[in-house]
């Protein structure tokens, strides 16, 4: 009698456990600027796309497709994600610096931006700062890369002179691969020949 009950009880338990796998809820929401992007949620059994705000899909097990997107009350979202949203960091700040032609000398306007940049960095310590050289798609790739790096190093030096801890700054170049204004290959665009300072 007892063995039979234990066996059935055991089976029921196994059935319960296998039905109680993890559940994943995925919600698309507007970003702080109000922009709504797009996500896709997929597994072996199917895939759904979400491109409207406050829509969610639920996944339960790999053999069941993610559920069709359904609206979720923004207040419920606030409640479920309160902690994560509370720890959302402020966005990094980007400063753009422009130079005189073929030189590491800053334009007067960019020169005037240096103290404000240094001051923000100080306010955000502890922080990491990236000083990134960019070039446009015109001309010799190697030359542009080298110039963009020299310019980035020059901006770093000037920020350090204004009191920014050198150890918080890393210098790099994105070459022509991360333009401000998208252009075809071999096109001059003064807006792309810049140094970007990213403060986190």
């Amino acid at each position: 009698m007892h063995k039979w009950m234990i066996f059935t009880g055991g089976l029921a338990l196994v059935a319960m456990i296998s039905a109680c796998g993890p559940k994943s809820t995925v919600v698309l929401v507007p970003d702080p600027d109000g922009y709504v992007g797009k996500i896709s949620v997929s597994n072996e059994a199917g895939s759904v796309d979400i491109d409207h705000a406050h829509q969610r899909t639920v996944v339960r097990g790999g053999k069941t497709a993610p559920t069709e997107p359904r609206s979720i009350d923004p207040n419920e979202v606030e409640g479920l994600f309160k902690g994560a949203l509370a720890s959302q960091p402020p966005p990094p700040v980007h400063f753009i610096f422009y130079f005189q032609s073929d030189s590491v000398t800053l334009n007067p306007e960019s020169e005037r931006q240096l103290p404000e940049t240094a001051a923000l960095i100080q306010r955000r310590i502890p922080t990491t700062v990236s000083v990134i050289g960019h070039s446009d798609t015109l001309g010799n790739k190697d030359y542009n890369l080298e110039l963009s790096l020299r310019r980035a190093r020059s901006v770093r030096r000037q920020l350090v002179e204004l009191g920014v801890p050198e150890s918080s700054i890393e210098v790099s170049s994105h070459g022509e691969e991360n333009p401000l204004v998208k252009t075809a290959d071999n096109v001059a665009n003064v807006k792309n020949r810049r140094v970007e300072v990213v403060v986190r």
Binding site: V26, Y35, V41, L80, K82, P89
Partner: protein, 148 residues
């Protein structure tokens, strides 16, 4: 002999100068907000996640009962965790010059806010958020995930 030694010294100096730029590239993110208790597990060691703590690829970030933490990545992605949450940075690469992009994040449990950055803009197909039993592709911008 003197000439060779001088050249050697110059070469070593140049090497030091050039690698000091690359050295800091190792970090991919920085903790910019923390409440309560949060830790980073890295290669078997556990570190406290505090304001300013740097984050590396293959780190696991975990919050305790009342803990929440927010991280900003090199490409501007903002990731924040609610309490009792665990995520693993499986891969992260932001190197536009070499066209190398990757952001693979595994959400083990808990609540997560993912606010996409430049990797999603430049190479959205290289972003994957992995939950038990599904993968999330992100074309932008703000996605909330709960695993329980």
């Amino acid at each position: 002999m003197k000439f060779i030694r001088f050249n050697l010294i110059v070469m070593v100096l140049l090497l030091i100068v050039s690698t000091s730029e690359a050295a800091d590239d190792a970090f991919v993110g920085i903790v910019k907000h923390v409440e309560g208790s949060a830790v980073i597990q890295r290669k078997g060691k556990t570190l406290v996640a505090a304001l300013g703590t740097l984050v590396l690829p293959t780190d696991t970030i975990r919050t305790e009962d009342q803990g929440t933490v927010g991280v900003v990545f090199s490409d501007d992605t903002r990731l924040s965790l609610g309490p009792r949450t665990e995520v693993l940075i499986e891969d992260y690469r932001f190197a536009p010059k070499e066209s190398r992009f990757s952001f693979i994040l595994r959400i083990v449990r808990g609540t997560v806010s993912f606010l996409s950055g430049q990797i999603t803009k430049l190479a959205p197909e290289s972003v994957e958020l992995i939950v038990p039993d599904a993968t999330i592709g992100v074309r932008g911008t703000h996605v909330l995930i709960k695993v329980d």
